[in-house]
Symmetry: C2
Subunit: 231 residues, 2 copies
Amino acid sequence: MKNGYKEPDILEEYSESMEDSQLKGLRLPTIRRFPKYLRVLWEFSSHGREVVSSDKIAHKLNLDPITVRKDLAFTGILGKPRVGYTIADLIEGIEKIINSQSQTNVYLFGAGNLGTALLGYGGFKKHGYNLIAAFDSDPAKIGIKLHDKPVYGISHIREVVEISDHDIAVLCVPENVAQETADIIIEAGIKSIWNFTSNELKVPESVTVLTEDLASSLAVLSVTRKRNSFK
Amino acid sequence: MKNGYKEPDILEEYSESMEDSQLKGLRLPTIRRFPKYLRVLWEFSSHGREVVSSDKIAHKLNLDPITVRKDLAFTGILGKPRVGYTIADLIEGIEKIINSQSQTNVYLFGAGNLGTALLGYGGFKKHGYNLIAAFDSDPAKIGIKLHDKPVYGISHIREVVEISDHDIAVLCVPENVAQETADIIIEAGIKSIWNFTSNELKVPESVTVLTEDLASSLAVLSVTRKRNSFK
DNA sequence: TATATATCGGTATATTTTTATCGATAATTA
DNA sequence: TAATTATCGATAAAAATATACCGATATATA
């Protein structure tokens, strides 16, 4: 017996700091797919299913079942041949990886069009993020509520933000104040910035920035379409 | 002389249907980076620069200069040793690839929070896309203008949309009507859908869908931060 | 004018990501 | 109970992507 399916070993009972080890080998494409798996798992679950095969998941997401199995292996959840995976276990396993911290607070900076839209984005709550408050410089907005979230002046950042290593700032301010706002955010102790401005931010190494580049997506759409039209 | 820098050949004078061939070998990561190059090239240009090296661009975007040179090679624009590339040429070359068509019309479906935000998104115009109109089912919105764009009832789609192969539909409707709206869009002849709902759309092969998955980004941010905290 | 240096573009290598193959096995069917 | 089948997980191969290397050369400097 050289390779192939093997009866899995008994799971280690203790896994105190498994998070670190679990993260090893985890790649970006896999991480990006996890929320997609969650979506279809939630859907299956809401239809009363309890188990699901990699093939079924793959089909829903236009992926290869092998990809799905490799990704799901990172959760440590084992499937059964001829049956599949227990949906509830998978959901728990994925959530543990992509948002394991007890709670992640999200703060919005810039309550303009896009910012206000994101205040109403249901994905935050669904994925375990708590949108706490918004900050804006417009006096007309300060003090009111948008989508039930209070809007503060940015000078009150220290009073509002409970400093915690895994809080997230969503940056939706105009481009010309993007960097200075980021500086204030970092100064206040927030270490993750979700950047919706088309602006490369200069930040210390200890701060993580993810820039959401809508123009990149448009480019992909444009070229993909052109490609499709050539065949 | 086995390899290394070579005096470039004289450019072919005619290149009628170069688009197709130019697209060959062009990969998704490169396409995604093109708009980023445009951003920094515009910036350099606005500061009065006329030439720029791969190294300068790479530095701005946190990329490897080799990556930049390889990407830029797809434009066909040649740089000069010790000098760099002519910025104006690069801009033209990139724009040709990612949005070569004379004009791309963009139609928004669903003028809710996110939709309205996108109506105000400056990137459209900047990258050569014309946002023509929005469609919504809410009678209170139909007939008014949002960000100077008219809002129509979706039943008027055929009157408003000039059918053209490279038009883009931006889908921002609630999830429960995502698929049916997509069907109407496709029926009207639009072949590219930029999908902001967290919903896998079933579409014919001839239609290109790009799903913008905000939850995926959040996951990436979450895990990247966790990683950073381990070192 | 000779030398030094920045920077190009081509080829080569390394790493990451996807896809294929296959033995093992749990449930199903004959 | 035996054969069939769906599906797993491990290893292997292929494809895509990023990085490294290096000779050539245009400008700058000595």
